[in-house]
Every structure is written in structure tokens, then in C-alpha cells.
């Protein structure tokens, strides 16, 4: 395995609305393997933050302002955000 695949990177995840209030922060910083997928990030968030996983409310992950599917890979340069179900209007 190449060295860069083993490196850990810090990823900032912006929080909004109900998720921000449940965790009590505007953002969280997670240490993840480089080239982690959105699916892995979701699993990690669910493990680390029972305040979110206990609600059973689904959330999506946005990468660089686009809602990303679970296969999308994340680097430390990406802008990542956790989006609860939206309710504008």
C-alpha cells in the first residue's frame, strides 16, 4: 500500500440546524484516512456522536457545496458539511 493511503488527514465538517444544536458546535474535526469515502465518514460520525445517531434522522454529506453519494472520496482540501433534511421556504 502506498504511503499516502495510510496517512491520516484532518477533515472539518460544518454543522447546521438540529445537528449543530445536538452536538453543540458549528463544526467538528475528524481524523480520517486519506481518500476516505462519504460512506465511511457517515459511519464514523454515527459512532462518535450518539446525539446524532440516536435521533434516527437521516443526514446527507455535502462536499464542496454538492450533496455527495457514499462512494465520493474526501480529501483534507474539501469543504465538507453535514446536512439534516432541509426545510426552507
Amino acid at each position: 500500500m502506498a504511503k499516502e493511503q495510510l496517512d491520516l488527514v484532518s477533515v472539518r465538517v460544518k454543522l447546521f440546524a438540529s445537528s449543530r444544536e445536538r452536538i453543540g458546535k458549528d463544526e467538528i474535526i475528524l481524523s480520517l484516512a486519506n481518500q476516505t469515502t462519504v460512506g465511511d465518514l457517515k459511519k464514523k460520525i454515527m459512532e462518535l456522536y450518539p446525539a446524532l445517531s440516536s435521533t434516527k434522522i437521516p443526514f446527507m454529506i455535502a462536499v464542496n457545496h454538492k450533496v455527495a453519494d457514499d462512494a465520493t472520496t474526501i480529501s483534507h482540501l474539501d469543504e465538507v458539511a453535514l446536512l439534516p433534511p432541509v426545510s426552507g421556504g
Binding site: K14, F16, A17, S18, E21, I57, P58, F59, M60, A62, H65, K66, V67, A68, D69, T72, A81, L83, P84, P85, V86, S87, G88, G89
Partner: protein
């Protein structure tokens, strides 16, 4: 014109921005804070946005509208912060040569805003203060 703002929404300005000499029709949709939800009386709503992404999404919705309909101007504004009953939370205005395009494009605009743009509301009602968990936006 696309904006997320904390300021009150000025409908006259929106109509001026939507005006176009080659348009024969302009539609305006206004969303405002309702005094009730299905659990009782609502006194106010707090709106929060992921502003940078919300503005990107509004621009994307405008470009989709322009691909589907031959319109002249597209204006979409969403307000955030603390709003009272009756306050305008969102407005979409579209001008086009003919009314059918203006109506359809305006409806598409507000429908997509409600399901895709990262904005959230917290209602203050008789039964307490609750975040409205609406729709999970799909990946693009």
C-alpha cells in the same frame, strides 16, 4: 438575481429586478410565516442557511430553469434569521415573453428551493421549539 439575506424582503425591488422590456408576463411567488402548524399556533420561525452552498444551489436551479423555459429574468431570495408571523421568508419572480412559461418556471423554482437548498427552519409554537425535519436532498 439570487440572494440569501437577513434583511426584510423588498417585493417592489424584486419586481423591478424581474422586469424586462421583452417580457409580456411576470409571476411572483411569496412564501410567508404561517400562524399555525399541524400541532397548533406558531408565533415565529428561525431560519438558518448554509449560505455559500445555498447560493450555489439557487444559481443551479436558475440554470436548470433557463434550460427548460425561455425566460427573461429569474429572481430568488430567501431570508434567514428570526421571522414573525406574516413576514416574507422567500420570494421567486420570473419574467417571460408569455405567462405559461413564467408560471411554470416560477413553480419549478420554488418547488426545487424547498427540496434542495440547504436552509432549515425552527418553529416556535405552543408545543415548544422544534426543527422542522423536511426533505433529504439527493446527491447530484
Amino acid at each position: 438575481m439570487i440572494t440569501i439575506t437577513r434583511d426584510p424582503i423588498d417585493l417592489c425591488k424584486i419586481l423591478v429586478d424581474a422586469k424586462d422590456r421583452s417580457a409580456g408576463g411576470t409571476t411572483l411567488f411569496i412564501g410567508s410565516v404561517r400562524d399555525h402548524n399541524d400541532k397548533g399556533t406558531v408565533s415565529e420561525i428561525y431560519y438558518e442557511a448554509y449560505k455559500e452552498m445555498a447560493e450555489d444551489m439557487l444559481a443551479k436551479i436558475e440554470s436548470e430553469v433557463r434550460k427548460r423555459w425561455n425566460i427573461k429574468k429569474f429572481v430568488a431570495i430567501h431570508r434567514i434569521g428570526d421571522l414573525k408571523v406574516g413576514d416574507i421568508s422567500v420570494a421567486v419572480a420570473v419574467s417571460a415573453e408569455h405567462r405559461q412559461e413564467a408560471f411554470e418556471a416560477c413553480k419549478y423554482g420554488i418547488d426545487e428551493i424547498k427540496t434542495r437548498v440547504p436552509i432549515w427552519k425552527k418553529e416556535v409554537s405552543e408545543s415548544g421549539v422544534t426543527w422542522v425535519e423536511g426533505i433529504s436532498p439527493k446527491s447530484e
